[in-house]
């Protein structure tokens, strides 16, 4: 079994600030892997470094056996797609859903666009009626569905998810999480998912890494976390916090 994503000693530096301090991880093919941490822990930066959106200072990133250089080629973006946190910011406000979905197809010169768009919309549970609407005519959950459709339309093998539901209401979050699980099963996708919410990560992922201040704290399986078999105090704190407010005395 090869690793879908293998990262070795990844360092990301913004000016003089080290956002990632030599992080290593390995995501197996078909696995769903979670990154948890508080704001500023570097979890989103790690995803952005993979896609080439953050400056890599040192370390190597290997995707499907191919080491990535300074630039990414088209084939990379066909294989790796990303869904961003805020569906209000990640969709072009002056483009219809149709145009949004056509863009990746045009970039990659894919011919059967018509069919693909219909299928992609169908897949994320937005019928044909949504095809010629603008983002502002959609709810947050519908927008995130469009963002997922846009990521899926190129039939990637790896999906990078950066807090895909944190801007959504709880009930809509459940729908989107279910959708993500379903498309993963259907397309045998590899997920690398970032969230600040331990419950979401244990729900969605088999393995996870806890991060703090640009460093990996520990790597766990979901069942270890559920059984509270964690070795680091920081993870224990996170677990306690995720159980909610408890009044003392």
């Amino acid at each position: 079994m090869t690793a879908a994503v293998a990262i070795e000693g990844l360092e990301v530096v913004f000016d003089r600030f080290r956002a990632l301090k030599g992080v290593s991880l390995e995501v197996r093919e078909g696995e769903s892997y979670g990154l948890v941490g508080e704001s500023g822990s570097g979890k989103s930066t790690l995803l952005r470094a993979i896609t080439g959106l953050a400056p890599v200072a040192s370390g190597t990133i290997t995707v499907n056996g191919k080491a990535l250089g300074k630039t990414r080629d088209k084939a990379f973006y066909r294989d790796v797609q990303m869904v961003f946190q805020d569906p209000y910011g990640s969709l072009h406000p002056r483009q219809t859903v149709d145009r949004l979905l056509q863009e990746p197809l045009a970039i990659h010169g894919i011919a059967d666009g018509e069919k693909r768009i219909e299928r992609a919309l169908d897949e994320v549970g937005l019928g044909k009626g949504f095809r010629f609407r603008y983002a502002h005519q959609l709810s947050g959950g519908q927008r995130q569905r469009v963002a997922i459709a846009r990521a899926l339309i190129l039939e990637p093998s790896i999906l990078l998810l950066d807090e895909p539901t944190s801007a959504l209401d709880a009930s809509v979050q459940a729908e989107v999480l279910n959708l993500l699980e379903e498309v993963r099963r259907r397309h045998k996708l590899t997920f690398l998912m970032v969230s600040h919410d331990l419950a979401i990560i244990t729900h969605m992922c088999e393995r996870l890494m806890v991060m703090q201040n640009g460093d990996a704290v520990e790597t766990l399986t979901a069942s270890q976390l559920i059984g509270h078999r964690v070795s680091e105090d920081y993870t224990r704190n996170l677990l306690r916090a995720s159980e909610g407010f408890v009044r003392t005395a």
């Binding site: 508080e38 704001s39 947050g140 209401d169 709880a170 009930s171 809509v172 979050q173 459940a174 729908e175 999480l177 279910n178 699980e181 379903e182 600040h196 919410d197 331990l198 419950a199 979401i200 244990t202 729900h203 969605m204 976390l225 559920i226 704190n237 996170l238 677990l239 306690r240 916090a241 995720s242 159980e243 909610g244 407010f245 408890v246 009044r247 003392t248």
Partner: protein
């Protein structure tokens, strides 16, 4: 009568839009004593507009009406805006969601707290400073004298929110409205801030309205919960009895969140019924 701090009967908030009138709040009624009341709902449920209407912060184009909106026996909708202003920040205070936006960016934290105090009370500058420092101490800021002179961008979100709480509590309000006070904070910081808020509210015997989208958080923090959907109250329930909630919306909200140790694939989703909004 002294028990009831706030009485809300048939509160309505209406916004004029290009396509006609939109009722954000449609006949909300509840009463509040010196207790912690949670208002829960999803975005667009009217929970924040309810809080803002009580505070008197509804945008000018919107219209607020109610059979009764009384705070400590004062009918809030019939007094002048000047009288309203003397209540706001003094006897009724409000904590907003994100300290990044709700604190004045060009004023030091200390000056903002002092300003609040001196607007409502006649105190000397030196006394005001003393009290602001004591208040910062009370919200567990370790080095009050240093934080006093900092600007909001120089402190973390958790610290900013503590400063916000200090600012709101310094006049000793009887009613505190907290609109998503911890949603912008990291989970571990969230608990610290909630603990501080909880302690101060209990010590001072204030009434608290805690507005949030997070039903579970609210139920662990409040005595009573009002659940809102599409501008209406669908259920009022004691937090301790939330497990026996009757309304399908309340139960759906409780159920749809993933929980550690409870494997459910797929997650149950809300099946919204049009009659809930009727």
């Amino acid at each position: 009568m002294s028990d009831t701090l706030l009485e809300v009967d048939d509160l309505r908030v209406t916004f004029p839009t290009r396509t006609g009138l939109v009722q954000a709040v449609r006949g909300v009624s509840f009463s509040l004593g010196r207790e912690r009341l949670g208002i829960v709902g999803e975005s667009g449920s009217g929970k924040s507009q309810t809080g803002r209407a009580i505070m008197g912060l509804t945008p000018p184009q919107a219209e607020v009406s109610a059979k009764k909106l009384a705070f400590g026996g004062i009918e809030l909708l019939s007094i002048s805006s000047r009288q309203r202003r003397s209540l706001r920040g003094n006897r009724i205070a409000m904590i907003l969601q994100d300290p990044k936006y709700s604190l004045d960016p060009v004023m030091t934290i200390g000056r903002q707290i002092v300003e609040t105090l001196r607007t409502h009370e006649k105190v000397s500058k030196a006394d005001a400073r003393e009290r602001a420092l004591a208040m910062l101490q009370a919200v567990q800021i370790r080095d009050p004298a240093r934080v006093f002179d900092l600007y909001p961008h120089e402190v973390s979100g958790g610290m900013g929110q503590r400063a916000m709480i200090a600012m709101m509590l310094i006049t000793g309000p009887e009613l505190m409205i907290a609109d998503e006070p911890t949603s912008a904070l990291d989970v571990t910081v969230q608990l610290d801030v909630l603990k501080i808020l909880d302690k101060l509210v209990a010590e001072r015997g204030m009434g608290l309205i805690f507005i949030s989208h997070d039903l579970r958080l609210v139920s662990s923090f409040c005595d009573r919960v009002v659940v809102m959907y599409a501008g209406k109250v669908v259920e009022q329930i004691k937090a301790s009895e939330l497990r026996d909630a009757q309304h399908p919306y309340t139960r759906g909200l409780l159920n749809c969140m993933p929980r550690i140790g409870f494997e459910r694939h797929p997650l149950p989703v809300l099946d919204r019924k049009p009659e809930w909004a009727a």
